[in-house]
């Protein structure tokens, strides 16, 4: 095992009853890299994340670098409508007692005006900024983001990726992100893993985009922005 990797998975397998959700998945997450996980619905992306954060039992091995600090943003907070929860209090629940530091991090994530708002009243983009601020409070080595741009419009999505790329440049934090949207994300990633129960293919965005198993899963329209034209040369239908 290379000493440098933050997380190494070998033969990671998760089953529920007779169904195999993840089948002998091998991968590693390297320091400071932006790694994106893509795959169709039901491919096991969420299961993989849940295994990484210790929510589901698995077989195989999952090794974390010693002392690894993890930041995580869930897709959404399902019960937020029921709990009165001001943003600043939510950030404090990460364990950060220093109000000035909480305020600073919210400002860093473009959410300084939101500290007294209720979590339930935030828009999708605002929620993601607040979740990101909370994840960063822990000064993580690795951020795990579960579909952070789901439900955002295109400008909101672009702003979120811009923020993320600034933060990466500043802190060198590695990002492991689950995503549906292929264009933006793949342009932002160092490496891409394409999952469908097992790992279909992985590599740089360019390599994955040309991979037959990727094209089979996502169809020939799933072009990655910079490579789009090359793709269309391969297409002979639709």
């Amino acid at each position: 095992m290379p000493e440098a990797s933050l997380i190494t998975a070998k033969g990671l397998t998760v089953s529920r009853g007779k169904r195999v959700l993840l089948d002998a998945v091998d991968f590693e997450i390297l320091p400071s890299e932006a790694l994106t996980l893509i795959g169709p619905n039901g491919a096991g992306k969420t299961t993989l994340i849940r295994a990484l954060i210790g929510m589901v039992p698995y077989s195989g091995t999952l090794t974390r670098r010693k002392g690894l600090r993890l930041g995580y943003t869930p897709q959404k907070l399902p019960l937020e409508q029921l709990i009165p929860m001001p943003v600043d209090r939510f950030i404090a629940l990460s364990g950060e007692r220093n109000r000035a530091r909480r305020r600073e991090m919210l400002a860093r994530c473009g959410a300084e005006d939101l500290q007294d708002s209720q979590m339930a009243a935030l828009s999708g983009g605002e929620t993601q900024r607040v979740l990101l601020a909370r994840a960063l409070m822990r000064q993580p080595d690795l951020l795990i983001l579960d579909e952070p741009t789901q439900g955002l419009d295109s400008p909101g999505e672009a702003r979120f990726y811009e923020l993320l790329s600034d933060i990466r440049a500043e802190t060198g934090v590695a990002v492991f992100m689950v995503s549906h949207d292929l264009h933006m994300v793949m342009a932002q990633s160092d490496r891409v893993i394409c999952l469908n129960q097992h790992i279909c293919c992985s590599g740089t965005p360019g390599v994955v985009a040309e991979d037959p198993s990727y094209l089979q899963l996502f169809g020939p329209r799933a072009g990655i922005a910079p490579y789009q034209h090359h793709h269309h040369e391969h297409c002979d239908h639709d």
Partner: protein, 261 residues
């Protein structure tokens, strides 16, 4: 001069209302009203078993209610919807308790008092038990409060931050089981869930932070206890249901009132 029975009942009732506030808020936030019902209903079987074995009823209630709460919490889903399963557990527990109370030797149970509460006959010793048990629940919940809130908001987030979900579940379920034992005397096993969720639900539209909601809910619980006891004293109505009637009125007022935001 206020009657000493009434004073004792008020003291016991207020203690229960204060302990109910944080637990009730968690039950409301987590959508676990049915879970509270099932745990509460299991208490009847606990009382019957304890009497039959000549043990203190409170011990039987804590044991059986804990067993019920832990079974539900750690039973993996079985192909039925969660509310169906909880309904099955809850009503089976109530029915088994009723049958056991009739069948087991040595059980002499005032069914109405067990089901609806009997706070006007609360003894000094019972008040001490309520105070001690309540203090333990409040101390544990205060110590674990941040974790309880995190597990409520997002179990995934809590796990990722290194928190223990099992510890959270144990604290929540065992606190609930002990609370069932403490509150039985006040509202009876049929209305335990009402004592938990009505004040919390009435507090929800008025609160802007989780702790504020707990505080308001404790206040509404206290008003309900005092109002219900007064109603019971004046109109000779059963005390437990009278408390819940007052809590329901407060809930309606709060729900009709102006919204924050």
């Amino acid at each position: 001069m206020i009657d000493p029975f009434l004073l004792k009942a008020a003291l016991a009732g207020l203690l229960v209302a204060w302990v109910a506030a944080p637990l009730g808020c968690l039950v409301v936030w987590r959508r676990m009203a049915y879970f509270g019902d099932a745990t509460g209903h299991a208490a009847l079987l606990g009382v019957a078993l304890a009497m039959s074995l000549s043990m203190p009823p409170l011990v039987g209630v804590v044991v059986v209610a804990s067993a019920m709460a832990l079974t539900i919490t750690f039973t993996t889903r079985s192909g039925f919807a969660a509310d169906t399963m909880l309904g099955v557990f809850s009503h089976a527990a109530l029915a088994i308790g009723l049958v056991a109370a009739a069948l087991l030797p040595g059980v002499r149970l005032n069914l109405i008092n067990t089901l609806l509460g009997d706070i006007l006959t609360v003894s000094n010793r019972e008040i001490i038990w309520i105070a001690l048990g309540g203090a333990v629940i409040l101390a544990v919940m205060t110590a674990a409060w941040r974790g309880l809130l995190n597990a409520t908001l997002s179990p995934e987030l809590m796990a990722a931050e290194g928190g223990s979900l099992i510890r959270d579940k144990l604290i929540f379920t065992l606190s609930l089981a002990v609370f069932v034992a403490l509150s039985m005397k006040l509202v009876g096993i049929l209305l335990i869930t009402a004592m938990l969720i009505l004040p919390a639900a009435a507090a929800a539209p008025l609160a802007r932070s989780p702790e504020r909601m707990v505080a308001i809910s404790a206040l509404i619980g206290s008003v309900s206890v005092l109002g219900g006891l007064w109603l019971s004293w004046e109109a000779d109505t059963p005390a437990g249901p009278s408390i819940i009637v007052v809590a329901s009125l407060v809930f309606v007022l709060s729900a009709l009132g102006p919204r924050k935001n």
